[in-house]
Symmetry: C2
Subunit: 357 residues, 2 copies
């Protein structure tokens, strides 16, 4: 914070609170000072459990959202930070709340973005975090297995999601970082395919995407399930896509340019005639959130993140975010990859080319 | 829009896109003009399916988020809206994106909030919407029933969530508008209790909260499950809470003051000695989102919504959002209530006082 000239920052995003204090409940607001104080305000009824769970130095309570926000005016005065440089999570606060907050809580402060500080901390995962991500990946693999086993003609997409989520809950999932996608037939040609009541027809391609949360960490896993006697075109498309994904993963070595992952994937897709058939971004960071730093290239700005130049050991990336889209179907495979000091290691391990049974 | 002096507005929130065009996919951006044109940009691969589903007058495509945002600069010029009053969903755009968008897409326009226009439309549900909400309520009731049947000592909270979600998927749930809460024992004393791996112990109070999405609509349903031989204190607390909730629901008649619902609930709680044991808000709107207009009192500002004075026929409210919290447990019941022209009608109908079997 000192290096970036930030005197204090407000932390409200649950993933950031979890990272800094060990407690991620929603509807809490923290103020971290460069001097190392961390004041967290939580609903009054939560005081006892927060005291047990949180590393914050000072825990206060409120009885309404109103009280939560306004209470911090006095805290800022108490800490003599009324006119300080104060960071806000500008990619978490909505524009309306940001305006109200700046005008009423920080009328004389200099408001800056807290995101780069928090993202640069969270972007490089330590050994304990990798263990948690490995566990989340096992849960995702179990969910994918249940999904693949339940895909058959005549089943609704929502029932495939039911089996995937049930298996993930049984394996330890605490929730979902993104909706469970089950997109069959023409729906697999869409960029985003949360399960609907559509019935899977014989011979249809089915895309499944799961994102369980386990112990506060999440992974991304997507597979395309081809029917046993898949049209050779879908099968050929998936083969090329998996080659592209493999090339992207291989390019994710510590010290390599971050956009080299994109270049490697795109090179395969373009040279094989798929230049017009994919969408960017081809990858993104994943960990405590479904999408987090590093976010590649121009997408970083839109997500309120800094552009990162290099692949770094400790990053965890979801590689294969782009898909190949045709008029009547699409194929995609996405895996969560840990950038170990020795190179990329896939945490999600479900077979890449599942078939309808 | 004309009454509020808005020439055009950008629509990106999926619930608003769904309401206006019939198609709610994420990662789409629409521009609605006061003259009645509606230009929607979607990922290139989605073009065919959006054309089939959307009522937008003009559908364009993009191949990256970057392209999506920048493409609208030309659209604005084409429509001669560069210097117009343009609405943005300020309680959906994050502060960072709002800044980038204002600076690069709308550098010469007057940027205003689109939220009041959209919320005032969505706040009053028509007959067809009430039917969809009734269906979502049936799905929620089925989920609650499965949860209640699975609560027993020795079961993890996540396994209760597994049964609730599985039952809701089988009944038609397309997804979840909020995490499934299963909060047992001391965790029931927290304001927010998504299921964790905690094991339910004998004699513990268990709070369950479900929010399925069915056909784009969602409801709120919360119950507190008391053990068969519950400590008389928890049982007495729940009795008072249910009285307060009933009073709140009774106060939700068309034409009555909106904050009368809060006053009615709080009157019961305060006169029965619970003045320090609940949190506000006591209720909120629900429909295409888990929390939507009307948002009561000062909470409206924080949510970027207008303050609404009166209960109106067609509103759908989740009443009972506040709970009674003690040191070692909490009790709560929340129901989704349609304000019919003849008065409030509960859509969620699960029995109010379930017991562990």
């Amino acid at each position: 914070m000192r290096a970036r000239g930030i005197d204090a920052m407000f932390v409200m995003k649950p993933a950031n609170l979890a990272y800094l204090t060990g407690d991620s409940r929603p509807c809490a607001l923290g103020l971290l000072t460069a001097a190392g104080r961390f004041i967290v305000a939580v609903p009054e009824c939560d005081l006892a459990s927060v005291r047990a769970a949180s590393h914050a130095t000072d825990i206060r309570s409120f009885r309404s959202e109103d009280e939560m926000f306004h209470g911090f005016r006095e805290v800022l005065t108490e800490l003599r930070l009324d006119e300080a440089a104060v960071g806000l999570e500008k990619n978490f606060f909505d524009a309306e709340l940001h305006e109200v907050f700046s005008a009423h809580i920080l009328p004389r402060a200099t408001v800056v973005s807290a995101t780069p500080v928090l993202s640069s901390l969270r972007m490089r995962k330590d050994a304990q975090e990798i263990e948690l991500l490995r566990h989340a990946a096992q849960v995702a693999d179990a969910g994918m297995d249940a999904a693949v086993k339940s895909v058959r003609a005549g089943t609704a997409e929502t029932l495939v999601a039911a089996e995937a989520e049930y298996a993930m809950r049984k394996a330890g999932a605490e929730g979902w970082a993104a909706p469970t996608y089950v997109a069959s037939g023409w729906r697999s040609a869409m960029a985003h395919g949360p399960a609907t009541s559509k019935t899977i027809a014989a011979g249809e391609v089915v895309q499944v995407h799961v994102a369980p949360v386990v112990d506060g960490y999440t992974v991304d896993l997507c597979r395309t399930i081809l029917p046993e006697n898949a049209a050779s075109e879908a099968s050929a498309d998936l083969k090329v896509y998996l080659e592209a994904q493999e090339a992207g993963i291989a390019a994710a070595a510590p010290g390599a340019p971050l956009l080299g992952i994109d270049a490697a994937m795109v090179h395969v897709l373009e040279t094989r005639g798929y230049a017009d058939r994919f969408l960017r971004p081809t990858f993104h960071g994943v960990g405590m959130e479904h999408e987090e730093a590093p976010i590649p290239g121009g997408h970083a700005v839109i997500h309120g993140e800094e552009q990162i130049e290099e692949v770094q050991a400790g990053m965890v990336l979801a590689i294969g975010n782009c898909g190949i889209y045709r008029q009547s179907y699409g194929v995609r495979a996405e895996d969560t990859v840990w950038i170990s000091p020795d190179g990329p290691i896939e945490l999600t391990r479900y077979p890449k080319n599942p078939r309808t049974r």
